[in-house]
């Protein structure tokens, strides 16, 4: 199939891109030119069954870019509340200290509490009304390349291959097999969100990541709670730092009042922690037991759960965002302000700017890097750079702990983003993980964040209870979509060196090390690899891929980088209704 523009990913970035493109084409066609452009040949691919189902965010929207895209959008968009009140707290195990003033970056007056799921659903309707088709249930599984070149100057992307459907767990076609499409496009736009699978292929093939400024990530764990009225005001925003993380880890919690009886609550843990037993889901559960959170949630009811990774690195870790026939948007390209904990508005803006470059490419018939460079130039000239450049060193400043990070953040605040010296460098987060036998002191302090949470079933939950509330589902008879390059590493080296951190960092209990009875007739579990341990016991990795919530944490945090997240059959995955 031939298309003009293919946008992979129907999140805020992809939808904004489609919408802006439709606006430009409409204006172009109405201007009396001879060569009309068609919106028929623009398509948005979205792997979830319905628009918005895989979209997850804490839920604050800075309206700046939306006002540019659709002036007056507030009148019709689903916005839950305008922020009316903020506070920032530092938590210790039993104490809480309120920041005397709310630091400027965390002042949220004028922003909106939203459900990103509902918001993107609404954007999707706008896109459909504008005449662009959103193909739900279709993932991009591979990029189509014009040549073998690995040089960004000469390599050219020709489109994407969509996923095959109806393949069984052994990789054989089922009765209803439907092969994927070769979807060729003049411009291919990747807006897959954090650690997009095609973006990863592109970045690694063309060597776009700067090793001195590797992307760093966090994983956000979120629950929606119904609570008795009077505890958190509609539009109230609470941020916390500290407990249950120690001063060595990066992260913090949020509580957003959606209505008088509904709150979004969550915790982001930086994926650059040292202790391999760290369990971000446990971190969040322990946070809920802290009296600050307990007072809000106790007696309420958890109604939804979700988890998603986010890129923390900011401006310095942004890969090249354009090339011959391709552009990168949103979280796939590091458009997130980690100091303000906001990325939706930047994702939308990046989509709009990419749309303008794509439009010019269609009009001129030239979609080479020379033409699409316009996108990068537009980003540099826009308020995206104004916003991200001064905070470029923010997350990196915390690499060596909370205290130093706070000091550096203060210095950067004064020096417009600069350190007392050159810009910070950083490697990938997983490289900071320490081996089990090298773990330093202060282990006792880490009890609330290591190992899996058991949950009391009321305030705190184990992972399976939470996963149930993510609404995730996948057809069981399909290939495992978490591809482990070498399973023997899991049961031998990794067990010894890192104690199989996949059991802990996955917020959906996908990875499980199970004791295997040593019987030859034992049927193989899905995606299993095995190895005899030296003590005679055999533990093998079981991959419960049907639990997966598509957060990509495993792809990011695995210390050997042997896990590759590939899209499962389109339509599978979580259902973040109302999240």
């Amino acid at each position: 199939m031939e298309a003009d523009v293919v946008i992979v990913g129907g999140g805020p970035a992809g939808m904004a891109c489609a919408l802006r493109l439709a606006q430009l084409i409409d204006a172009h066609n109405a201007s009396g030119v001879d060569e009309l452009l068609s919106k028929e040949n623009i398509c948005v691919l979205e792997k979830s069954r319905e628009v918005g189902q895989h979209c997850l965010s804490g839920g604050l929207l800075d309206p700046r870019s939306m006002r540019e895209l659709l002036p007056g959008f507030e009148k019709e968009a689903p916005l839950d509340a305008e922020v009316t009140k903020e506070s920032v707290w530092f938590l210790t195990r039993s104490g809480r200290y309120k920041a005397p003033i709310v630091p400027p970056p965390l002042r949220d007056h004028g922003n909106y509490v939203i459900s990103l799921n509902k918001f993107v659903k609404w954007m999707g309707q706008k896109v459909e009304q504008a005449g662009i088709t959103v193909f739900t249930g279709f993932a991009g599984s591979e990029l189509l390349w014009a040549n073998e070149s690995k040089d960004v100057e000469t390599a050219r992307v020709l489109g994407v291959q969509t996923d095959d459907k109806g393949v069984d767990k052994e990789g054989r076609p089922k009765g209803n097999f439907e092969p994927g499409y070769e979807l060729r496009a003049k411009v291919t736009i990747l807006a897959e969100g954090t650690r997009g699978s095609l973006a990863k292929e592109l970045i690694s093939k063309l060597g776009l990541e700067d090793l001195e400024h590797a992307q760093t990530y966090g994983v956000g764990i979120k629950e929606l709670w119904e609570i008795p009225a009077g505890r958190v005001a509609k539009g109230e925003v609470i941020y916390t730092l500290g407990y249950p993380l120690t001063s060595r880890e990066y992260g913090g919690a949020w509580v957003y009042g959606i209505s008088d009886t509904l709150v979004s609550v969550g915790y982001v843990t930086g994926l650059d922690y040292q202790d391999p037993r760290t369990d971000p889901h446990h971190v969040f559960q322990s946070f809920k037991e802290h009296k600050l959170a307990r007072r809000i949630l106790e007696g309420g009811k958890m109604i939804r759960y979700g988890a998603k990774s986010l890129p923390y690195g900011g401006w310095l870790t942004m890969p090249r965002i354009y090339g011959n026939g391709w552009m990168l948007l949103g979280d796939s390209a590091s458009f997130l302000n980690s100091q303000r904990l906001k990325g939706i508005h930047l994702a939308i803006k990046s989509g709009m700017l990419a749309a303008e470059a794509a439009f010019d490419a269609l009009v001129s018939g030239d979609s080479s890097a020379d033409r699409l460079r316009e996108y990068k130039a537009a980003v540099d000239a826009s308020w995206i750079r104004e916003e991200l450049w001064p905070v470029r060193n923010f997350h990196q400043g915390f690499e060596h702990g909370l205290l130093g990070g706070m000091v550096r953040a203060g210095i950067q605040q004064v020096r417009r983003g600069g350190n007392l010296g050159p810009d910070a460098k950083n490697g990938a987060g997983y490289t900071r993980m320490e081996r089990v036998d090298e773990l330093g002191p202060a282990l006792a302090k880490r009890a609330p964040m290591v190992g899996n949470a058991k949950g009391d079933g009321k305030l705190t939950f184990d992972r399976l209870t939470d996963v149930f509330h993510s609404g995730t589902r996948h057809d069981e008879d399909q290939p495992v979509h978490l591809v482990v390059e070498d399973l023997s590493i899991c049961s031998s080296r990794c067990t010894k060196e890192y104690g199989n951190p996949c059991q802990y960092f996955c917020p959906a209990a996908v990875y499980e090390m199970v004791e295997q009875p040593q019987r030859a007739d034992t049927p193989r579990a899905e995606g299993a690899g095995t190895d005899g341990g030296s003590d005679g016991s055999t533990k093998e990795l079981r991959i419960n891929f049907t639990n997966c919530v598509h957060c990509k944490t495993c792809d990011i945090m695995d210390p050997y980088q042997i896990i590759t997240w590939v899209p499962p059959e389109g339509g599978g995955g979580p259902n973040y209704d109302g999240m």
């Binding site: 189902q53 088709t133 459907k165 109604i303 995730t472």
Partner: protein, 256 residues
């Protein structure tokens, strides 16, 4: 063959459900999907059309959101769709749903009408049967095999405990289809694109209102069952314990 498929939009199977304020139904802020047995009915209709020619129309009754199930049907290969569009269609009892569908297709003369054997939400398994009664045509339920013959239809019905019934029937007829009768196809990119061009007829409440009557079924109250765990532990030597269990089952639980 001119075939009609009746499709219902139901809450997604794994959606976390919450009761509405009145406690009479669930809150509708959930995701929706095609009722699974109806998806099999659609697939069967498409296969019959592929074998014998003709056309497949899909019909649903429900608010604007229900259009999604028709779009999916069109994307998979249905030729046209009929949407009884009104919020009031969502909470009708089975008899009125059947009356509304019958009114909407008056004069269409379908050879075959198929639908799922029941809906995943109400699970009444009545709409298809009642529709047949209203139209005055024969029906058969729990169908797991359809073969068209010169005389009409040869059908296989699923009975309990692994038994089957083979029957023959004339057309026109209404069949309610069991899940698993076939393997569902996927919508294709081209199918989704083409679906946009296919005709979708809207039927308003006013057009069918005259054919409806009072709802005879209504949900009074819906509630989450409370936990009623009553465990009794019998501690005694095996023989004695067995006697006590039998005693209990006979006299107290009256189970044997």
């Amino acid at each position: 063959m001119k075939i009609l498929v009746c499709i219902k939009q139901v809450p997604q199977k794994d959606a976390p459900l919450r009761l509405n304020e009145a406690g009479t139904w669930i809150r509708d802020d959930v995701s929706w999907e095609t009722n699974e047995p109806d998806a099999y009915a659609l697939e069967e209709a498409l296969r019959q059309k592929e074998k014998h020619g003709g056309e497949v129309a899909a019909i649903t009754a429900g608010p604007a959101r229900a259009q999604q199930v028709l779009r999916e049907a069109l994307a998979k290969g249905a030729d046209r769709a009929i949407h009884l569009e009104d919020d009031r269609f969502a909470q009708m009892d089975a008899a009125n749903t059947a009356r509304a569908i019958a009114a909407a297709i008056a004069g269409e003369n379908f050879d075959l009408i198929v639908t799922g054997l029941q809906s995943d939400d109400f699970g009444a398994a009545q709409t298809g049967v009642l529709l047949a009664e209203i139209l005055g045509v024969p029906h058969a339920t729990i169908i797991i095999g359809i073969e068209k013959t010169d005389a009409g239809l040869k059908l296989k019905r699923e009975l309990e405990a692994g038994h089957y019934q083979h029957i023959e029937m004339t057309m026109p007829a209404v069949l309610t289809i069991q899940s698993g009768i076939n393997k569902l196809r996927y919508a294709t990119l081209i199918g989704i694109k083409q679906a946009k061009m296919k005709p979708m007829r809207k039927v308003t409440w006013a057009e069918v209102e005259g054919k409806l009557s009072k709802h005879v079924q209504k949900i009074e109250r819906l509630y989450v069952p409370g936990s009623q765990k009553k465990t009794r532990k019998i501690e005694a030597p095996a023989g004695e314990a067995a006697k006590q269990v039998v005693e209990y089952l006979k006299n107290e639980a009256r189970a044997i």
